[in-house]
Each structure stands twice: as structure tokens, then as C-alpha cells.
């Protein structure tokens, strides 16, 4: 499996560290909604198909990447910087139950 790092180009899987499911959004730190926190920590969609996930290029430039990879075929279709994964920021408040 190769992942194309935006800085370094296509690199072998062994250079990367998996950091898990990228579909999860941490509730607002001020939120006291127990249900939302439990769901964030324990519940997973466990997608079969295109999966958004976070990898770190720990054996290279150390950038955190949002990778779209098919969990049925291992084919990587998109790689972006995790910080640019746009919906994260704007969704944060909505996902945590509207706390502003």
C-alpha cells in the first residue's frame, strides 16, 4: 500500500502511522453532554467502502493527513492535510449539540 504524501510524494505504508477513523468529531470541550462524549469515544461507523481516516507521515515529514481509502480494496483515492479537512471546524458546534 502506498500513500501519496502532499509534501513527499508516494511513500510506503511502513513510513506512516495510523491514527484512526477520521469521521469522528470531538465534541466541544466545554460540552457536558455525556451521550455525545460516549458516542465520540466508543461508537464507530466501521465503513465498508471509501473511508476517511487520519494517518501521520511519522517516518517522513510528520504531517497529519486525511486519507480517503477504500476498506474493501485498500485503494487510496485522496490525500489531504488533516488540518484542511474543511468540514471539521464548521461541523464542530453542530455535532456537539449546538453548544456555541
Amino acid at each position: 500500500m502506498l500513500i501519496s504524501c502532499p509534501y513527499c510524494g508516494p511513500r510506503d505504508l511502513s513510513e506512516f502511522t495510523y491514527q484512526g477513523d477520521g469521521n469522528r468529531t470531538r465534541p466541544d470541550p466545554a460540552s457536558t453532554d455525556q451521550q455525545a462524549w460516549n458516542a465520540y469515544v466508543y461508537d464507530r461507523v466501521n465503513t465498508a467502502g471509501d473511508h476517511h481516516e487520519i494517518w501521520q507521515h511519522s517516518g517522513g515529514c510528520r504531517a497529519h493527513l486525511m486519507v480517503t481509502r477504500n476498506t474493501l480494496t485498500h485503494k487510496v483515492s485522496a490525500v489531504a492535510f488533516a488540518r484542511d479537512a474543511g468540514h471539521r471546524k464548521s461541523d464542530r458546534h453542530r455535532m456537539s449539540g449546538g453548544a456555541a
Partner: protein
């Protein structure tokens, strides 16, 4: 039940072995059953067997999307043990070992359960202290366990490099002598035959495509072989749990699917008569009766539904193998394969009623499902028949994550790839 005996072998030898009855029938699906079990792996088949044997519920169908033995029951490294620290795990897996001890007689099918012992190696004094604690907890629960020193280990496994290349010297180990291995295919076939002879329909090539609902209640399934109704629908599909439960509208579970690779070498002369695990990395190895070294290591560590892994893990496992057994460096690898692991958020399984009315769920086996096969089926059958868990699986609930009653043997937290 006694179909296989010295006499029947002799009798069938005279008729050229043409008159053996197939081990299970190939029936067509009936329109309805008392219980449907989705998943014809080890756990599904043993559930059907114990439903019939222990609870007299024989109007049962086991639905398998492929053929029997095509999933994890034929993809594991066949190791069996009950060396756990936490009481729910200790009691459950010890019940399993006790069922294993009588399984060949119970099924009249030789599952080749071999109590050759499982030895966990310790490479630091701290790790050995931890093993002493775990071993003591096991002994308090009535499970056998003993600490070994390097000299004893060296006598037991002469081929082991006790210095492990000088980097991770063996300082001791914990041995469970009643642990061991079994022949995994025979387990599937034995349970299948036992269930079939008691009236259970085993439906192969019958993939579930959806669930029939009456309001919230699950009343049956749609399959590639038509609609089948049932009062109770039980799901035991391991790595496919996410996909199957999504068909029932359950979008999120405390489960991630990962791939675990396993390996077997070419056959060599008798080399080692126990199971040994490397404690400074992650490796477990045994020698099969055919002579092949059977071994595995960590899961690949990323979400996947593909039954194959990648090369970095292969390289890591091989390097661990050669570190422990330098003498095997030139032995050739015969085959490798992958199986899907339903990694739970605390590393412990789920055997429960629900999450919908009329539904029962068995999953979260991480990569310890094979040894659990008898007890998993035994407890799941009890849960289905009585609509409540047995004491052995009462702690393996689905809601324990949200309620904060985790059974986290390694103290690893909700990072499934690390369990």
C-alpha cells in the same frame, strides 16, 4: 450419535468408503424457523449445536454466505488458552477450555485438541511481575498457571534463543499447561454435523441482504435464497458485524474491522511441542501435527474489510520469528493469509440480547475468537433460549461502553488497533 467408531471405519473400508453419510445435509430454506443464526462460522455453528443439545430448540437455520469453514474458523492459528486477568474473561475462557477438553467425545468428532501448553515469555522483571500477578489471579479462579525460569524454558524449548539476539533476553515466562491447539476445520465440521443430526438446517451460499421488521421488532431476514422468517434472529458474523448490522439500521457499534495475518512454514521435523509467545513484540507460534510452523503477530492496524494484509507486518513478524528461533531463518514460508477481526473498544467480546427486539448479537472477538468457539456458542445459545445472558456472559454487554463498565484486559482504552 456415535457415527464414527473403529467398527464404522472398518465397515466402510469394506464398501470402498462409498456409503458414508454426508456430515451435513444441503436443505432448501423453510419459510420460517424458531431461530435464525446469521453466520455459519465456528461461533454460529456451535450456537446452533448448543441450542439443540442444551435447550431442545431444533427448528433452527444457520445462514452462511459462503461455504462452511471459509471465514475465521479456517483462518486462525488454532490456539486455545484461558490465561486472563479479569474475572469475566477468566471465567468465560476457562468454561471454554473445559468444553474443549470434552469436545471430541461430545461431538463424536476428533477435533484434535492437544493440551500442549501455552508459554508466554517475559523479557523484563516488570513483565514477569505482571505475569505473576496474572497467574495468581488465574489460580485464585481455579485455572492452572505456573511461572517458569529461563533454565526450565531452555529445557522445554531447546531451539529458543534465550538471549533473543541479546536485545530482549528471556527472564522467565508463564505457562498454562492445559492450554494448547485444536484442528480448526474439524471444529467447524464437527459442530455442523452435530447440529445437522439434531435437525438444524445449515444453509450455505445464503447471504443475508436485509432484515424483516415489524415496527422495531426483527421478524426475519431477506437472503439471496429468499425470505426467511423467525421469532429470533441471532447475528454471529465477526468481522462483518458492521456491514450486517447496518442492514438492520444499526449504523454505529463499538467495533472496528481490522485484518490479522497468519503464516505457515514448510513442514519440518518435530521442533517444538508447545505454543510460545514473544513478549517484547507480538508473536505466537506453534508447530502443527504436519510439521509446519504456524504463527502470527499483530493486526495490520488500519480499518479494512479485505481479507489480506500488507508487507510491513509480514516483515515484522518474520523478524520476530527469526529473533526467537535463529535456527528457522532458512525455513521457507509456505502460505500466508488474512482474516477479518471485529476489534471491540475494550478488547473483550459482546454476547447479548438486542440491540433490537427479536435480535441477538455476538461479536467483538478481536483476535481471540477461535479459543472461545465452544463457550461463545454455549453462552449465546443460553442467551437466545432464555432471553437473558448466562452468568458467564453477563458482563459482555453492548451498553457497557456507554455505562463505563469496560473489560479492558490491557488497559489500552478505546483504540481498537492496540487491543
Amino acid at each position: 450419535m456415535a457415527e464414527y467408531s473403529a467398527l464404522s471405519l472398518l465397515k466402510n473400508a469394506f464398501s470402498g468408503n462409498r456409503d458414508w453419510k454426508p456430515a451435513w445435509r444441503k436443505p432448501d430454506p423453510k419459510p420460517s424457523y424458531d431461530v435464525i443464526i446469521v453466520g455459519g462460522g465456528g461461533h454460529g455453528l456451535s450456537t446452533a449445536y448448543y441450542l439443540a443439545k442444551e435447550h431442545g430448540i431444533t427448528n433452527v437455520a444457520v445462514l452462511e454466505k459462503g461455504w462452511l469453514g471459509s471465514g475465521n474458523i479456517g483462518r486462525n492459528t488454532t490456539m486455545i488458552r484461558s490465561n486472563y486477568l479479569l474475572p469475566p474473561n477468566t471465567n468465560f475462557y476457562e468454561h471454554s477450555v473445559k468444553l474443549w477438553e470434552n469436545l471430541s467425545h461430545d461431538l463424536n468428532y476428533n477435533v484434535m485438541f492437544s493440551q500442549r501448553g501455552v508459554l508466554n515469555l517475559a523479557h523484563t522483571p516488570g513483565q514477569l511481575d505482571d505475569m505473576a500477578r496474572r497467574g495468581n489471579a488465574m489460580r485464585l479462579a481455579g485455572v492452572d498457571s505456573e511461572l517458569m525460569n529461563p533454565a526450565q524454558i531452555g529445557r522445554l524449548i531447546p531451539a529458543l534463543d534465550l538471549s533473543v539476539g541479546g536485545r530482549f533476553p528471556v527472564v522467565g515466562g508463564m505457562m498454562q499447561r492445559r492450554a494448547g491447539t485444536a484442528r480448526h476445520d474439524a471444529v467447524a465440521w464437527g459442530y455442523a454435523r452435530g447440529a445437522d443430526r439434531r435437525g438444524v438446517d445449515i444453509l450455505e451460499n445464503c447471504e443475508v441482504t436485509g432484515f424483516l421488521r415489524d415496527g422495531d421488532r426483527v421478524t426475519g431476514v431477506t437472503t439471496t435464497r429468499g425470505e426467511i422468517r423467525a421469532r429470533k434472529v441471532a447475528v454471529a458474523v465477526a468481522g462483518s458485524t458492521g456491514r450486517v448490522m447496518q442492514l438492520a439500521g444499526i449504523d454505529k457499534l463499538p467495533i472496528e474491522s481490522h485484518v490479522l495475518q497468519a503464516f505457515v512454514s514448510e513442514g519440518i521435523k518435530p521442533f517444538m511441542d508447545t505454543v510460545v509467545t514473544f513478549g517484547a513484540g507480538h508473536l505466537y507460534v506453534t508447530q502443527s501435527d504436519k510439521g509446519g510452523m504456524v504463527f502470527g503477530g499483530d493486526i495490520d492496524g488500519y480499518n479494512t474489510y479485505a481479507q489480506r494484509g500488507n508487507l510491513p507486518v509480514v516483515e515484522e513478524v518474520m523478524s520476530e520469528m527469526v529473533a526467537l528461533f535463529p535456527g528457522l531463518a532458512r525455513v521457507r514460508l509456505l502460505r500466508s493469509w488474512g482474516g477479518l477481526m471485529d476489534m471491540s473498544m475494550d478488547g473483550s467480546p459482546i454476547i447479548t440480547t438486542g440491540p433490537l427486539p427479536g435480535m441477538y448479537l455476538n461479536c467483538g472477538w478481536c483476535y481471540g475468537g477461535f479459543k472461545a468457539t465452544p463457550a461463545s456458542g454455549w453462552c449465546f445459545a443460553h442467551t437466545i433460549a432464555k432471553d437473558q445472558p448466562h452468568a458467564f456472559n453477563a458482563a459482555f454487554t453492548l451498553d457497557r461502553f456507554h455505562r463505563g463498565i469496560l473489560i479492558d484486559e490491557k488497559g489500552q482504552g478505546s483504540t481498537p488497533r492496540l487491543h
